[in-house]
């Protein structure tokens, strides 16, 4: 992943001199050939969004065919008035944030363990990757019935084995339930990226460090950790993009109760349970605006913090 991105970044920085006239005319045909692809990609990415904006100004419930009309910003007012939006933002931030932190942390530990030479390393690596290959809905079902179940679940059986009471996971700790499943699923993803980082470390530098008398702890803190920074960055970025959209464990296990109604699940409820096209479209537009703000402000700040930390 990282190696494929690097040339693209450099390509943006290098400024090419303006092409001479002859070359420019030669470029006309290739550009014309690109047009259909460009037009189609604009059509399939932008037109649905414009249509969504239009829908968001309508009073339109699928079950009320006769009652459809323009209402202006009424749907947006309803989004703000209903009081569902802010708890949902909190839920999204909590679930995404906690799962990210936990899966990066455990991914780092597993990557460090896998980076050592031992017998059966390949088998261990394959087994550790498996959770990421399981379909999200299947993973949620596996956890619901074989892990969290109060009668036959592995977690509760283990608790009872050491003399503790079984825990009603979905009822009492819905947020933790979702975060545990997501951490289990995303740890392998983080692990793979960090492992790639670990294995790309120059052996010469590590050797030089040990010649200089640095112990394992210091080598890790001052050489390995700064080296891993960009790998963790990319892991966090990609992980955040996918985790923000999480839907399956919520729909299958907690049904949005107890602070697990994320923006994705809220949107689903408005559209497919409320069948209110106008309101759901308004939620969609608000979510897109919020995402753009977060993506352009928060992520940039986050990464500049990383960079400042590294330069010290």
């Amino acid at each position: 992943m990282v190696t494929t991105l690097a040339p693209a970044r450099e390509g943006q920085v290098v400024r090419r001199p303006a092409a001479p006239r002859g070359i420019r005319s030669k470029l006309t045909l290739p550009r014309m050939l690109l047009m259909p692809a460009l037009v189609i990609s604009i059509a399939i990415t932008q037109i649905p969004f414009l249509v969504t904006i239009y829908y968001s100004t309508l009073r339109w419930n699928l079950l009320k065919p006769g009652d459809r009309g323009f209402v202006g910003f009424e749907n947006y007012l309803q989004v703000l008035r209903s009081g569902d939006l802010f708890p949902s933002i909190t839920a999204t931030v909590m679930i995404t944030g906690l799962s990210l932190v936990l899966s990066v942390f455990s991914g780092l530990i597993f990557a460090l363990l896998l980076d050592r030479k031992f017998i059966g390393q390949a088998v261990a690596r394959t087994l550790l990757i498996t959770p990421f290959l399981v379909m999200p809905a299947a993973a949620a079902l596996i956890w619901k019935y074989s892990m969290f179940d109060t009668n036959i679940g592995v977690l509760n059986a283990s608790l009872q084995a050491i003399g503790l009471d079984p825990v009603a996971w979905n009822t009492q700790y819905p947020l933790a339930t979702v975060v545990i499943v997501l951490t289990w699923q995303y740890t392998p993803f983080m692990m793979l990226i960090i492992l790639a980082g670990l294995q790309s470390q120059s052996k010469d530098i590590l050797e030089a460090a040990s010649v200089d008398g640095a112990g394992a702890g210091r080598t890790f803190l001052y050489i390995t950790m700064p080296h891993l920074r960009q790998y963790v960055e990319i892991a966090v970025l990609l992980g955040a993009i996918t985790l923000v959209q999480v839907f399956d464990p919520i729909a299958i296990m907690t049904k949005g109760t107890g602070g697990t109604k994320t923006l994705a699940y809220l949107l689903y409820e408005r559209a497919f349970i409320g069948l209110n096209v106008g309101e759901a479209a308004a939620y969609g537009v608000v979510v897109v605006i919020l995402t753009i703000i977060v993506a352009s402000v928060a992520l940039r700040t986050l990464f500049s913090v990383f960079k400042v930390g590294a330069s010290k």
Partner: protein, 448 residues
């Protein structure tokens, strides 16, 4: 880099396949008009046993009608609901026959989305009066019948006789909720919960049994003027009773539990009693069930009303914009006929005949023998439920465990999430229902 390329090729290929499949499905629906010889009927249905049996037997219909092919599209209940609603509401005409719940039929009928079947069903051979009257009543708006029940159900209290006997307690045929709660608390132990009740949020999950409890306690969702009644004393008392019973003697993790989870728990002796859909009886008495013959069945428990069972049916209907209307009606009549019930009995086994649809089925000696444990009580309960007036006070809609307005699935869903918070102890029942009242009132205001 190489792997990236192959991944994108694979994704591209996948998209192409999906696009082709979509085109294929769309093309299939439009195949042939009424006049032409080859007709393809597209049927959308829900993935439960009785519907899959219908798919197995469709060959008999196709043989009797040369040139007709019936194409089944089987979906999860939630998917079916959203797919079919979107298709029918937008007049997309993808389906010739749709499977619709009794909650939607009157609304869709009134919207003019479904073909009026009153006239086609009136021939003597079909014997429309043989359909169970309360079920038929739910599907009729202004004397026009818009759908035909494929199977119907009510709710029953089911209990493991061995566990109750061991504890020295018993239940009558028509218990009250107080008696049931006492028995549940008496037999509750660390291994076996006293009673299984649905706690999974959703208007069709938690609020199917809970609404019947509310109604028999004297509460309801709305009064005759569509004023919400969700935080009325009766509603609060009923929900408090339900959550207290769950806390004292219910399954350990209620939010995870709905029909299937409770069924498994009762089969494995993890709960002593269960209040749920009557259709469960045929599964508890199936040959592979470990509790076959050990289960007792009672009427739905009551408090202030005579009867508290719910009423639900899965029905077949023909959308107004179907391109093969006549043949679609023909198929709907065949799949709900006496002849079809006999066919299921002969080919697949008598206990699998769709229950709760036709009176004559319950008079058939072969069915009576195969379904002896649950058939008489199912028929008795379905016939004694009054969908026009299930609670203590009159209501302005027809339906028992739901309110037949478009807003209800949203209202019921949100209130059930609030009740789940009360079950988990994150809020009190009163707080949950005060919030629920506001949500329900918005739905009620839309009816005024």
């Amino acid at each position: 880099m190489g792997s990236m390329k192959s991944v994108s090729t694979a994704v591209g290929a996948g998209l192409c396949v999906m696009a082709l499949a979509a085109c294929g499905a769309a093309g299939g629906g439009g195949g042939g008009g009424d006049g032409s010889k080859n007709v393809t009927l597209t049927l959308a249905t829900v993935n439960n046993g009785q519907m899959k049996d219908m798919e197995k037997l469709k060959g008999t219909f196709e043989k009797a009608h040369p040139g007709v092919t019936v194409n089944f599209q089987v979906m999860e209940e939630g998917d079916l609901r959203s797919t079919v609603t979107a298709d029918v509401a937008n007049a997309a005409g993808q389906y010739d026959i749709v499977t619709v719940g009794s909650y939607e039929v009157p609304q869709w009928g009134a919207n003019g989305w479904l073909t009026d079947l009153t006239e086609p069903l009136s021939d003597a051979a079909y014997d429309v009066d043989d359909l169970l009257p309360p079920v038929r009543q739910m599907l009729t708006v202004d004397d026009k019948q818009y759908a035909v029940p494929f199977y119907g159900e009510s709710s029953l209290l089911m209990y493991n006789k061995d566990i109750l006997d061991a504890a020295g307690v018993s239940l009558s045929d028509r218990p009250t909720w107080q008696e049931v709660a006492d028995v549940a608390r008496a037999v509750n132990s660390s291994d076996t919960a006293g009673i299984c009740l649905r706690g999974k949020p959703g208007w069709g999950d938690m609020f199917a049994p809970l609404t019947t409890v509310v109604q028999t306690f004297g509460g309801n969702w709305y009064d005759m003027d569509w004023n919400a009644q969700v935080n009325s004393p009766e509603f609060v008392e009923a929900v408090t009773f339900y959550t207290d019973l769950l806390a004292d003697a219910g399954e350990a993790d209620p939010v995870s539990y709905s029909f299937n989870e409770c069924l498994t728990a009762l089969k494995n002796g993890k709960v002593a009693m269960w209040y749920d859909a009557s259709v469960a009886a045929s599964m508890l008495e199936a040959d592979d069930s470990p509790v076959k013959g050990k289960i007792g069945y009672s009427h739905a428990p009551v408090v202030k009303t005579e009867e508290a069972g719910w009423l639900w049916s899965w029905n077949l209907a023909v959308p107004k914009n179907s391109k093969n209307k006549d043949m679609a009606v023909e198929f709907v009549k065949w799949a709900t006929s006496k002849e079809y019930h006999n066919l299921v009995g002969e080919e697949l086994g008598w206990s699998l005949v769709p229950p709760g649809a036709r009176t004559s089925t319950y008079e058939n000696p072969k069915y009576q023998e195969a379904a002896a444990a649950f058939a008489p009580i199912t028929l008795e309960v379905i016939n004694s439920v009054d969908p026009t007036h299930p609670g203590v006070n009159p209501q302005p809609w027809v339906g028992v465990q739901y309110v037949t307005i478009p807003e209800f699935q949203d209202v019921g869903n949100q209130v059930s999430q609030l009740v789940a918070d009360a079950i988990a102890g994150r809020s009190t029942v009163q707080e949950a229902l005060d919030k629920g009242q506001e949500i329900a009132q918005r739905g009620g205001d839309a009816q005024k």
